[in-house]
């Protein structure tokens, strides 16, 4: 949605562009410049007593040592790089422009202008109402200098994001707040006439995860590899003692692979800890804010409306302690697969994780009405069939699987792209079929494996209907009719009551009702103005959230 400037777009008088921080070019190419400078200095240092050589060299009347010539070249390259960076910095600017139709316009449209490029001039206009998330992050070195980066993600994925790097930290936060003003779900402040336009400051601390526990959990998750390594080493030593040293030397080569695997895993683990340390979860009216990071810090804002899938993952070793991790997939998030899925909670007590998801999404992922596929499924999935299960909640489908690594998958119906059902030869003989919900790119599809064929038929019809009804609505109002068993009110109520005892010792914030009726009504009204489906007006007077009781 980064549009090039177009003629038909409303004219925006070129406003005064703001510049990024002057240190930006240095930081952007700090690696190259740093290495080159260090190498050059090192080379010069070797000839420190001959500094006059430089002068003579310039005069061209000296025999220049090769090393010195190389050093001079490096310095030249570094200077050119810096100069290029400086020119590029001079040509880069951004501005936040607000368009009002008239003085009393309560829904101003914000646009971010971002101009850059020396040879190829790029002028981007980012409509802020299309922005999916605004993050403030600080890599290590900028962090030391008190600088930060603001990145805007659009729905189109990794390609369509704008990174404003670098700004002073306070300025970055201020800009982020400003931008959030004009995103559809962000602050919500400009949309509410009763409140003065100010950034959404009403946020509450939901969870803070201690780094100590994170390290424990990370080590515990990888404990299998350590055990394997231990066994291999013991076996190798045993073989050495039993059969002589040549065998031991031979078996050491086998250990090598394991050590390599160990190193890779350690690297991942260290990465996880560095990324998720100091993990803090804040809750605003319509979004979750995460800040984390030990060396580099990242501040992510996850709009609840954009959540495509939530997973509660319980690795084997964590289950012994009753721990779980909450992962989330969001539209427009970086989906290059290089980084693991964003954790909503890197580690938490299972019940805490369930309660947290319930409080933000209104879906009970520990719903007891999960139905397994039945005994016939053992022929298709002999090891795992006992752990498969599916249920349809009011807001989305819940599926779980995994013998060792128990995972519960939840997808909101409103995000479903298409519904499909597949049946292999063996499944057909057994009268089974697998139902899928196709999710937007980057999210694995949701699966209800090996259901009874008749049930699969009903599931497909039901899911299509539920997805249709919830598609146009902003967020998952429970509007399904009571005749529908999957959304029957009574069991839901029971489930909530069952949950209650465990709830008491949790922080109060987790159970806070969502106070955003107003925002939603407003937004719906606004969407209506834009000519969206009238269906959006349905359920406006429905209770916002069942968890709010």
């Amino acid at each position: 949605m980064t549009e090039q400037q177009e003629d038909r777009a409303p004219r925006i008088a070129d406003p005064a562009l703001r510049r990024l921080h002057p240190l930006t070019p240095l930081l952007r190419s700090w690696g190259a410049v740093g290495v080159i400078t260090a190498a050059a200095l090192g080379a010069l240092g070797n000839n420190a007593d001959q500094v006059t050589w430089v002068w003579h060299a310039v005069q061209g009347d000296a025999d220049i040592p090769l090393l010195l010539r190389a050093a001079g070249l490096l310095v030249l390259v570094a200077v050119i790089l810096l100069a290029a960076g400086w020119v590029s910095w001079r040509m880069t600017g951004f501005a936040l422009v607000v368009e009002r139709r008239d003085e009393a316009d309560r829904h101003p449209v914000g646009t971010l202008l971002y101009h850059r490029g020396v040879l190829v001039r790029q002028r981007s206009r980012v409509r802020l109402d299309r922005v999916q998330s605004v993050d403030v992050s600080q890599p290590v070195i900028p962090r030391l200098l008190g600088l930060a980066m603001v990145s805007l993600d659009m729905a189109a994925g990794a390609g369509a994001s704008v990174k404003l790097a670098y700004l002073r930290e306070a300025e970055a936060w201020h800009l982020r707040d400003e931008i959030l003003h004009y995103t559809p779900t962000g602050g919500g402040a400009p949309r509410d006439p009763s409140r003065p336009a100010k950034p959404a400051r009403e946020q509450q601390l939901v969870a803070r995860i201690s780094t100590h526990r994170l390290v424990q959990a990370t080590l515990l998750e990888g404990v299998g590899v350590y055990v394997l390594l231990f066994v291999v080493v013991i076996a190798a030593i045993g073989a050495g003692i039993g059969f002589g040293w040549e065998v031991l030397l031979g078996s050491l080569t086998a250990v090598f692979g394991v050590v390599l695997a160990l190193f890779l895993m350690l690297r991942n683990q260290v990465g996880t800890v560095l990324r998720d340390a100091n993990f803090t979860l804040l809750r605003t009216s319509s979004a979750i804010r995460i800040s984390s990071g030990l060396l580099s810090t990242v501040n992510r804002t996850i709009e609840l409306d954009r959540v495509q899938e939530v997973r509660i993952v319980e690795p084997l070793t964590w289950r012994w302690l009753g721990w779980a991790r909450v992962e989330v997939d969001v539209a427009g998030a970086r989906t290059d697969g290089s980084s693991p899925a964003a954790s909503l909670m890197p580690v938490a007590d299972s019940e805490e994780a369930v309660a947290f998801v319930a409080s933000v999404l209104g879906a009970d992922l520990a719903d007891p009405r999960v139905a397994g596929p039945g005994q016939r499924a053992r022929w298709v999935d002999p090891l795992g069939h006992r752990f498969l299960g599916v249920t349809l909640l009011d807001q989305g489908g819940l599926s779980r699987r995994g013998r060792w690594r128990r995972t519960r998958f939840f997808v909101p119906y409103a995000r479903v792209q298409s519904v499909s059902v597949r049946q292999g030869w063996l499944q057909r003989r057994l009268g089974l079929a697998t139902v899928h919900l196709d999710m937007p790119a980057g999210v694995r599809r949701w699966t209800a494996p090996h259901r009874d064929a008749t049930e699969a038929h009903m599931l497909v019809n039901d899911l299509v209907e539920r997805a249709r009804r919830q598609r146009a609505m902003p967020w998952s109002e429970p509007t399904l009719d009571p005749g529908d068993a999957g959304s029957d009110d009574q069991p839901q109520h029971d489930a909530a009551q069952q949950l209650a005892p465990g709830v008491e010792d949790r922080p109060r914030e987790v159970r806070q009702p969502r106070h955003e009726e107003h925002d939603h009504a407003e937004r719906r009204q606004r969407d209506g103005e834009r000519g969206n489906e009238p269906e959006q007006h349905q359920g406006q007077d429905q209770p916002r959230d069942r968890q709010g009781r």
Binding site: I312, F387, T454, M458, Q490, Q498
Partner: protein
């Protein structure tokens, strides 16, 4: 609705209490839908053109020609290699014969049906699939034809949603039907577009 038989451990430490009840409980009482899962008899399913089989049999025919050539060569050549050629030709011809039948049968399974809100596409004999694509989710509708299918006057309609896993493609529609379908879908999609 029956109460769940086995309850799940609230602490989440043991999730193996998955209820293995008869699975229709999931959706509660209500008549089981009649008919085949992949061919709802209440809908008007439209087949694709059998000319698609012609297109798909083309590579099979080429393979068969090679097989025939190998067979003839094996019969004529007077060298110890002719056994290899004979076997190769036989295998190729046999494979082509099987593929000839399978391709036709596979093409016959392609069906699509238009409902008020969504489009259903179903195909496959051994591995059967049905995809339901809501009109509101369609982002792009493509009609494409390669030189062979263009000669046969058939085209493929591809529906693109935001999901990479949506498998929505109808090959082998007569070109006029493909264009008409595309226009209908585009009109409906425009009326029902939903955000992500």
């Amino acid at each position: 609705v029956a109460a769940p038989r086995a309850s799940v451990d609230r602490r989440g430490t043991r999730l193996d209490g998955v209820t293995n009840e008869p699975t229709d409980r999931l959706l509660g009482p209500g008549g089981a839908p009649a008919g085949d899962l992949f061919r709802d008899p209440d809908l008007t399913w439209r087949p694709v053109s059998l000319r698609l089989a012609v297109e798909r049999r083309l590579p099979v025919a080429v393979g068969a020609l090679f097989g025939l050539a190998a067979l003839v060569g094996g019969l004529l050549a007077a060298s110890p290699w002719n056994v290899v050629l004979l076997v190769l030709g036989g295998v190729l011809l046999l494979g082509a014969a099987i593929a000839w039948v399978v391709v036709k049968r596979a093409v016959q399974t392609w069906r699509y049906a238009e409902r008020e809100q969504d489009l259903l596409v179903s195909h496959g004999r051994l591995y059967r699939r049905l995809t339901v694509i809501p009109y509101g989710r369609m982002q792009v509708i493509e009609v494409s034809a390669n030189p062979v299918s263009a000669r046969l006057d058939i085209a493929t309609v591809t529906l693109v949603t935001a999901s990479a896993s949506t498998d929505a493609r109808i090959p082998g529609l007569p070109t006029s039907e493909a264009h008409a379908l595309r226009d209908r879908l585009a009109a409906k999609g425009e009326a029902m577009t939903a955000g992500l």
